[in-house]
């Protein structure tokens, strides 16, 4: 006797995302998700291969959320201002979604290996901005420098690693300013020729 479905993949991912946001990645268990959608853990395996697959689905959701946030942060006229805006938007997003940040940047199973489409575009805003600052020759290197710094900074911050006093906001602002200049081929250049279309897309 066929039985009507009592839940769906979408609902499962949504529930997982909610648990991640509210209680952190360690609370994101199959049993917890199952109860949250009103079903028992074994039933989840009808919709999802295993926990890692579910976590990756949630990560794809999170990364697209991050992408929207970052591209919403750029104005487009002043690349140095855009870099600042992206960096601060990234940090603010991470503070709002510590679980999502931890998942994407230090707990993703087989980390960062989302389906190509999933991450595509999440960092386009950054690539375009970096391209405008640094010129086409070293976009990749410069982008990696920026992302590494931002991810490292926020990761340490969220982990409570900055314990020597001083103002963490100041240190972050210091970083953006110095890095902005550091990756600029010509620090005083404005409106360079490289546009979003030339930037690499997806991942880092």
């Amino acid at each position: 006797v066929p039985t009507p479905p009592r839940t769906s993949l979408e609902e499962i991912v949504r529930a997982g995302r909610a648990i991640l946001d509210r209680e952190g990645i360690d609370a994101l268990t199959m049993q917890r998700v199952a109860v949250s959608v009103g079903v028992r853990a074994p039933s989840l395996y009808k919709r999802v291969r295993d926990r890692d697959a579910l976590v990756r689905l949630i990560a794809a959701d999170v990364v697209s959320d991050l992408g929207v946030t970052l591209s919403g942060a750029v104005a487009g006229d002043d690349p140095l201002a855009d870099l600042r805006a992206i960096a601060h938007a990234f940090r603010a997003w991470a503070h709002r979604h510590p679980g999502g940040f931890e998942l994407l940047f230090s707990r993703l199973p087989d980390a960062w290996r989302l389906e190509p489409d999933a991450g595509s575009g999440a960092l386009d805003a950054l690539f375009a901005t970096v391209a405008a600052l640094t010129g086409p020759a070293s976009v990749l290197e410069a982008s990696r420098t920026i992302v590494a710094w931002a991810a490292g900074f926020v990761g340490m911050e969220l982990a409570g690693a900055f314990r020597l006093g001083g103002d963490v906001d100041t240190a972050f602002a210091f970083g953006v300013e110095r890095l902005g200049v550091a990756i600029s081929s010509n620090p005083s250049a404005v409106a360079p020729e490289a546009g979003p279309g030339n930037a690499p897309t997806g991942y880092f």
Copy 2:
């Protein structure tokens, strides 16, 4: 009837460290450690409060190892060269000890909250070098920028996050060079007055 001890705290920490190095942080379980020292899991609780406490002891061991590596990397005459040396030594150390890196930089329970003495000095070499480059005014901000970048870069690298091609070594070298200049108060300055003794000690 009193029984002679069959293991010791030192042996337990040593065994844990070995498991961490060889099999990664997820393999570092109480049962695994217990078997490795020839005892059952419950016996470990005679020497260690719980798993987190054991992990912290191992982390202290790892961080001191990192400290030795980093201070061994500096020559002391040219701060910019020292920065390069420290950065590359850090990265090489992480490649040799991915488990240790992951533990220190993204999995430490109540992260980075080692006993003050444990982390003390691990980054002294870096603080001294940064102080020499950047002057006393922004040592803390500059150090945080460097450490965040290095930790973020290596973390992404070990997680397999650099998937857009390009040479990762090149991106790392690019980062050190640009950051070295970026945090310098006077890019061409040599032999500044700030010495190791003035640098903050411990943590980041």
